[in-house]
């Protein structure tokens, strides 16, 4: 299945919920609104012409103005790839968990919560796992994070 065929299939099935962005190099990048997330994910996985059953990656991004949550998926049968993102403002950084659709999303969402502070609803185990047990210095991957002992590399 080529990229053009995939694009037409997505526009047919989910044209009102996924908007194509032009920032994706080499793969299709869409934007999905937060309230449509679970429905879009279910359609992407269950529909036979799309069949995105292979969950590769998800992570948070801090662009200094907003948070973004990016999802990368693949399909084993049709050998295609797709990416999409959900944009969240700083003051309401919450998103639903997709682990009921893809069980592999569990640890990725846990890490995203731990490093960015994006709250993941309906997650079964939102506890600390990468940072030290007594970590109390905030969410380190945010762009405005700082702490004593954190040394930035000087510009050359």
């Amino acid at each position: 299945m080529t990229k053009e065929q995939l694009q037409t299939a997505i526009t047919e099935k989910l044209g009102d919920k996924m908007t194509l962005l032009d920032t994706g190099r080499h793969d299709l990048m869409y934007e999905v609104k937060r309230e449509n997330l679970l429905e879009v994910c279910k359609t992407l996985k269950d529909d036979e012409s799309l069949a995105f059953d292979y969950y590769l990656n998800s992570h948070g991004v801090d662009t200094k103005e907003k948070f973004e949550v990016v999802y990368n998926l693949a399909s084993i049968i049709h050998k295609t790839r797709i990416d999409f993102k959900v944009i969240l403002p700083y003051d309401s950084a919450e998103i639903e968990s997709v682990q009921t659709i893809w069980p592999g999303a569990n640890w990725f969402e846990r890490e995203m919560w731990e490093l960015y502070g994006i709250n993941v609803l309906n997650h079964d185990n939102l506890t600390r796992f990468l940072l030290a047990d007594d970590w109390d210095k905030g969410f380190p991957m945010r762009k405005d994070w700082d702490a004593p002992g954190f040394i930035r590399m000087p510009e050359l």
Binding site: L131, A132, D133, K137, P140, A147, F150, I151, R152, M153
Partner: protein, 170 residues
């Protein structure tokens, strides 16, 4: 008889034949230096070079060094790899579980001052000097097996110069 002539100066020749007298200190130091058993403590990239040094081409066994899995049976801890803030209390605990005489070789740039993770990292301990007392530092990222073997030979030289009274006072 011939062996008496080949031994270095510190062996005293007894008239009439084959007894060698020397000091207890010298024998103990030679025995300790020639059979250091190291604890397998590889965290990161330097652990692969540690494994290669213990394998066929650069052999550790010819220096008398064998790996042990538990700190109770080892003499030297070879910290190979980055130590993070989460791992530091466990390293201290392992060092405390070793029985004396015990030595520490810090292998790689990360154990000296944080290595390539000195800047911009929020969870790396910048050196292990403030966690456990280090005897030998080996620089490199990762150090070649020949550097590691040279570091172990320097440790052997250091052990041979020790006095028995050092350990008694501790």
């Amino acid at each position: 008889m011939g062996i008496i002539k080949k031994l270095p100066v510190y062996a005293e020749k007894v008239p009439g034949g084959g007894i060698v007298t020397t000091s207890l200190e010298m024998v103990l130091n030679q025995a300790r230096a020639r059979s250091l058993w190291y604890l397998l403590f590889g965290t990161a990239c330097c652990a692969i070079e540690l494994m290669c040094t213990g394998a066929s081409r650069y052999d550790f066994d010819r220096l008398g060094m064998i790996f042990r899995a538990t700190p109770r049976q080892s003499d030297v801890i070879l910290t190979a790899g980055t130590i993070t803030t989460k791992m530091a209390p466990r390293l201290r605990r392992l060092y405390d579980q070793m029985s004396e005489p015990r030595y520490v070789i810090a292998m790689g740039g990360c154990t000296i001052n944080g290595g390539p993770f000195y800047y911009d990292s929020y969870s790396v301990e910048k050196g292990i000097d403030h966690i456990i007392p280090v005897d030998i530092h080996i620089p490199g990222c990762p150090p070649r097996p020949e550097s590691l073997l040279e570091g172990c030979l320097h440790l052997q030289e250091k052990i041979k110069k020790e006095k028995l009274s050092d350990w008694q006072e501790k």
